[in-house]
């Protein structure tokens, strides 16, 4: 089983890295990180804050674009181009296929995020002329970005199993945006004083993916440390949420017919 999942993941990785759009995005992200040097140089006294903020936000934003735009086509493209026929007629379980596709895109994102992170540290080195151990704290933010991307790919893959790419992109992006404001939504429900609205917003809070907990870029930029418990709780939350998303995608895919 592991061998087949790894083969599908590697094929997905190859497919992603041979897409020109991916290179365009990476180059654009690196340019933006480079541009952060310019912005920071005109921000007297807060150069590093601006650079870290802009740099990590670029990594997050472009990672999100890659996750959504490649993720929504992951399964849909296989069905639309009928490549799925020749794969599922092999001794491949449908769950293995879904898992392989997911891991393949995740691998692509990990490597691209790695490249963008190197670009970020290059920009930081250029600005500060030196790097310190304390600068490694930015890696915690990068790790959280990766956890977010893992959840976004899970969402995109789930929608890709049931919908067209355009709708999948809309659904995934909407959930990402809503998922960043879940704390506010729950607070709003509590403030209304209506038990019905409060139950509804609390339900939404627990049901939808909470991306807000992963936004630590601003704290990192201001030199604040990320508490250890957040590293553990966010890791466990992402693992659980991705497991749920993948299980749902596999269940849907198991029942799907390929006419």
């Amino acid at each position: 089983m592991t061998g087949r999942v790894a083969s599908i993941a590697l094929n997905t990785f190859k497919e992603s890295v041979r897409e020109r759009v991916l290179y365009n995005l990476v180059v654009f992200a690196l340019l933006l990180i480079g541009a952060a040097i310019l912005f920071s140089s005109i921000s007297v006294g807060i150069e590093q804050i601006i650079l870290v903020n802009l740099g990590l936000s670029s990594i997050s934003g472009f990672g999100l674009l890659m996750a959504i735009f490649i993720g929504i086509g992951l399964v849909w493209k296989e069905i639309e181009r009928r490549t799925i026929f020749s794969i599922l007629s092999k001794p491949v379980r449908r769950g293995e296929f879904v898992l392989g596709k997911y891991l393949g895109l995740l691998l692509t994102l990990v490597i691209n995020t790695g490249i963008m992170t190197l670009g970020f540290y290059a920009a930081l080195l250029y600005q500060k002329r030196t790097l310190e151990v304390a600068d490694l704290v930015a890696l915690e933010a990068v790790y959280f970005i990766l956890l977010q991307l893992a959840m976004v790919v899970g969402l995109a893959l789930l929608f890709s199993c049931i919908s067209t790419p355009v709708l999948s992109a809309v659904f995934t992006f909407s959930l990402y945006v809503v998922g960043n404001f879940l704390e506010d939504i729950r607070w709003f429900g509590q403030e209304t004083g209506s038990s019905l609205v409060e139950s509804l917003t609390t339900g939404i809070y627990y049901l939808l993916p909470n991306f807000g907990n992963f936004n630590v870029i601003s704290q990192i930029a201001h030199g604040e440390r990320i508490p250890g418990y957040l590293l553990i709780s966010n890791s466990l939350y992402a693992l659980l949420y991705v497991s749920i998303l993948l299980s749902a995608a596999i269940l849907i895919f198991e029942e799907r017919e390929f006419k």
Partner: protein, 327 residues
């Protein structure tokens, strides 16, 4: 041993957007395909051929009925390790070369690395793709993609090969090669189950055929039985016959068709052939050929499509022969 067995296999598709309703694509299909035979599934477009293949490969699920492939239930995915499948109008990953794609397929079959390399080289060579093995599939012509499709279906050296319209997109040379390959597979003891609407391919290749029309099995039988059943007349071709001779032959022949200096007559009764030939020779006309007029697969096909469902004489005869063998 049976390679494929279907019992009342039925498939409904749901059609319509607002008012969803079922459309029957396959109705109560009962088929038994023996191991080692080349079995042709014939029918016009939309007859249910691809639906049957996809059901057997679990790409779609039956509405009712059951089927077994190589003695296994359809939901037993491990069975796929022993079968090969060429989809209709196949399309493969643009970003891979033929070699990379076949290697990927080998990985999915769990073949060890050395075995994969050997098999990929062998198949690329056998299907005439060796020179293009490192070219991206996006640059391949339709015929070349079809060859890649056949190669991937054979990667695991399967016992049973499903081919959905295998000659589609191939040029005459490619079709000849594909035919040879299918015959080679049979010689190696493989079972080949293929769908086609090109009757000449079926006529050359198949041991048995089944004819589907609008999702229903119209007939199933051994090709040699079907083709030898309907000797409807004897065709005699003459060269430069005298007009008087043709007048006299009217008592034997229903028709006389002239082409250049040759005349073709059809003698309905086999018993009358010797006396008719005697008359022709006595009159000094030259006999070019004497041939029995047999039912072609096309005649048979058209008859089944026109007549609708029903058991065929050929099928009766085959059943009787099998019964006799069993006794």
């Amino acid at each position: 041993m049976l390679a494929i067995e279907t019992v009342d296999l039925t498939k409904d598709y749901t059609v319509g957007f607002f008012r969803k309703r079922p459309r029957r694509a396959l109705e109560g299909l009962n088929l038994r395909v023996d191991a080692g035979e080349i079995f042709g599934l014939l029918g016009p477009n939309g007859a249910g051929k691809s639906t049957t293949l996809k059901l057997l490969l679990r790409l779609i699920f039956p509405t009712s009925g059951t089927a077994r492939v190589l003695g296994r239930e359809l939901d037993d995915v491990s069975m796929h390790a022993r079968v090969g499948y060429l989809p209709e109008n196949p399309y493969f990953y643009d970003h891979l070369t033929a070699r990379e794609f076949l290697n990927y397929v080998g990985e999915l079959f769990g073949l060890p690395s050395a075995e994969r390399r050997r098999r990929v080289d062998q198949l690329l060579d056998r299907l005439g793709l060796a020179d293009s093995s490192n070219v991206a599939l996006r640059k391949f012509s339709k015929g070349m993609i079809q060859r890649v499709g056949i190669a991937q279906a054979l990667m695991n050296d399967p016992e049973l090969i499903f081919l959905d319209e295998p000659m589609s997109g191939l040029d005459p040379l490619g079709r000849r090669e594909a035919r040879d390959l299918i015959l080679e597979l049979k010689a190696a003891g493989k079972t080949v189950f293929f769908s086609t609407h090109i009757l000449s391919d079926a006529e050359v290749l198949c041991d048995r055929v089944a004819i589907l029309n609008r999702g229903r099995l119209q007939g199933c039988g051994e090709l040699r039985e079907i083709l030898s059943l309907g000797v409807s007349a004897t065709e005699v071709v003459l060269e430069n016959p005298a007009p008087e001779l043709l007048n006299e032959l009217q008592s034997y022949s229903r028709s006389a068709i002239r082409t250049g200096n040759r005349v073709r007559i059809e003698i309905a009764e086999e018993a009358e052939v010797p006396s008719a030939l005697g008359m022709i020779l006595r009159r000094g006309a030259r006999v070019v050929s004497v041939n029995p007029v047999k039912m072609s697969l096309e005649d048979y096909f058209m008859a089944q499509i026109d007549n609708g469902p029903g058991k065929l004489p050929a099928e009766d005869k085959v059943e009787a022969l099998r019964e006799e063998e069993r006794k």
